[in-house]
């Protein structure tokens, strides 16, 4: 197993290849473009194909076809492109097709800018397109995790027959870090006994999501919901950092999770019992992280690069039993560790030493 220096976006691309992804359909958009560029260079050597589609709508629907045919397939884009894909993502969810989708979030609304942001949290965790559906949403916080979670995303997609979204930002996508190129684990995945690849030796199959009988439509909704419940139970992931004895908690994912770790270390130096919950799955949201740590907690601050989106899930997770505050930056700006600690001190009336 070799260790190499890769940009976050390249780590995603390399992991996809090693996970057996043979097809990539995409359309260039900063700050996700290195993914299609890296794959265009390396996937053909591995016997795969990169097709630059005419638009994101085409790309996601090409993914639909490839997944229906049984292939491992991925697409990547950034926020405006992900908006365009939403109808297609809804169809993927309805038809239960395993596709890995990467969103290197850029700021919005509109064309926005390229700086790090988490403005697509709602879009990612609430489905995003029309209809009552969920994606499995993974939120890595460093290049190694981009690699590991991308590889795992393909297994999760196949295991649950559900699209999986990897949500990161331009900071994570562009930063170079050492990555250990782990090999794919041989998992025990269900056979694709639904794929439409020609009916030789079996009955014809169809993949469709068209219901003109309400009773049948409700049955389908209940089937999907049962699957989502199963995922909620089995797949919540998070990292706890100094959370066991904490009186105050930071909650932050991705880039914010990284920054929050330094904040926790600084706070501990000052004797402040601060801890961190770093959600790794954004959907299902790691509610269990809060039930297990809850007893001694007096207050929570979510650190977000948006107007306060994840905070709603945190409030639901703790049932509003403790005060939950928001520390935010927007528009591509990153918070400084010192400012976060100062904010924690302010809202909970705690002494903070130093330049803060």
């Amino acid at each position: 197993m070799s260790k190499v220096l890769l940009k976050g976006n390249e780590a995603i691309a390399e992991a996809a290849m090693r996970a057996g992804c043979k097809l990539f359909f995409g359309y260039p958009i900063t700050p996700s473009t290195e993914i299609i560029e890296y794959l265009a260079k390396h996937l053909p050597e591995a016997g795969g194909t990169v097709l630059q589609a005419e638009c994101e709508v085409a790309a996601i629907n090409m993914c639909f076809g490839a997944a229906a045919a049984g292939a491992r397939v991925m697409t990547a884009s950034s926020s405006p492109g992900i908006s365009l894909k939403q109808e297609g993502i809804s169809y993927l969810a309805a038809n239960e097709l395993p596709v890995v989708i990467v969103n290197i979030n850029r700021t919005g609304p509109g064309l926005g800018g390229l700086g790090p942001t988490q403005s697509d949290y709602f879009q990612s965790t609430r489905g995003g397109g029309h209809g009552d559906y969920r994606l499995i949403v993974l939120a890595p916080s460093k290049a190694q995790e981009l690699y590991d979670l991308t590889m795992e995303a393909f297994d999760l997609a196949d295991k649950y027959r559900n699209p999986v979204l990897i949500l990161a930002d331009g900071f994570l996508g562009q930063m170079m870090e050492p990555v250990l190129l782990k090999e794919k684990k041989e998992g025990n995945l269900p056979p694709k006994d639904w794929q439409t690849d020609g009916c030789k030796g079996r009955a014809k199959r169809k993949i469709a999501s068209y219901f003109l009988v309400n009773e049948l439509a409700e049955e389908a909704c209940q089937r999907w919901q049962a699957k989502y419940d199963q995922i909620k139970e089995a797949e919540q992931r998070w990292e706890s950092f100094y959370a066991d004895d904490a009186e105050y908690l930071l909650v932050g994912y991705g880039t914010c999770g990284r920054i929050a770790k330094s904040v926790v270390l600084n706070a501990r130096k000052q004797g402040m019992k601060l801890g961190l919950i770093r959600p790794i799955t954004l959907w299902p949201f790691p509610v269990k992280a809060f039930t297990s740590h809850f007893d001694g907690i007096k207050g929570i601050v979510t650190v977000e690069l948006n107007a306060g989106q994840m905070i709603e899930d945190v409030k639901l997770a703790v049932n509003c039993r403790v005060p939950v505050h928001l520390y935010k930056r927007q528009g591509g700006m990153l918070p400084h560790e010192r400012e976060i600690l100062k904010f924690v001190g302010q809202v909970f009336n705690l002494p903070v030493r130093g330049e803060a």
């Binding site: 629907n61 490839a66 229906a68 045919a69 397939v73 439409t196 690849d197 030789k200 199959r205 469709a208």
Partner: protein, 250 residues
């Protein structure tokens, strides 16, 4: 007694749900016959549109996938790229392929995507109750052109096959009709050729088929056929619009 006509093996036993006199059914039958005659039922994956043919998934005996409105050719591209040795075709209405899906229609042709597309042009949005389509004729009354299609407001009928024929990757483009026994035979020949083009791996093939919609045209089936012959055929370039050199030998 010798059986000279029956349900082709390319079709299932499920009865069509189309309105009386609708020629979607004839087109289905022709495709079903071609799938059987070329012996490709087990190798074929069809892609259904959103439109009146949205339930065509049930009518063909090959594997079938239902795409979002307008996206059948993008979906077909994904299937074909995953399974290059299979036969992949799309079955789409004029609204599906020539309005919301136009970008894909152009780009599968430009890329020479090795798929076959069947476009059913009934000059209207049948499924949604008779609204104007890009193919609606000048002056034609629909629910969204209640005073007749006005070129000044709604532009001109879009002749998609003519445009598609200009792309290098489109190697076979034909426009046919199913209004008479003679034209039905012609249509079948074109459909068969479009599938053989794909079998030979030559490039993109499109067959546009003029079709009736008695329900939304507000006419009897017989009058519909007459209207198609008298009004539609003169507007659209008919016949084999493009037969690339490599296709001529087929």
């Amino acid at each position: 007694m010798q059986k000279v006509f029956g349900r082709p093996k390319g079709l299932t036993e499920i009865p069509f749900h189309y309105c009386p006199g609708c020629t979607h059914g004839i087109i289905h039958r022709l495709i079903g016959e071609v799938l059987e005659e070329l012996n490709i039922i087990e190798d074929t994956i069809g892609v259904a549109p959103v439109g009146c043919a949205g339930f065509s998934l049930d009518f063909f005996s090959c594997d079938f996938v239902g795409a979002a409105h307008g996206r059948a050719q993008a979906v077909a591209t994904g299937i074909k790229r995953a399974l290059p040795d299979r036969i992949v075709f799309t079955y789409q209405g004029d609204g599906d392929i020539a309005a919301i899906g136009t970008s894909h229609a152009i780009h599968v042709a430009a890329r020479g995507e090795k798929i076959t597309s069947i476009m059913v042009n009934n000059a209207i949005y049948g499924m949604t109750g008779g609204q104007m389509a890009p193919t609606t004729l000048t002056g034609q009354v629909t629910t969204t052109s209640p005073y007749g299609r006005d070129n000044g407001v709604a532009g001109f009928p879009l002749d998609l096959p003519k445009a598609i024929a200009t792309f290098d990757g489109a190697v076979y483009v034909a426009s046919v009709s199913v209004d008479s026994p003679k034209n039905i035979l012609q249509a079948k020949k074109a459909i068969k050729k479009a599938f053989r083009v794909q079998q030979a791996g030559l490039g993109f093939a499109l067959v546009s088929i003029l079709s009736t919609c008695p329900t939304n045209w507000g006419m009897s089936p017989v009058d519909s056929l007459k209207w198609l012959q008298e009004k539609m055929i003169p507007v659209y370039q008919m016949g084999e619009i493009k037969v690339a050199e490599e296709v001529k030998g087929l």
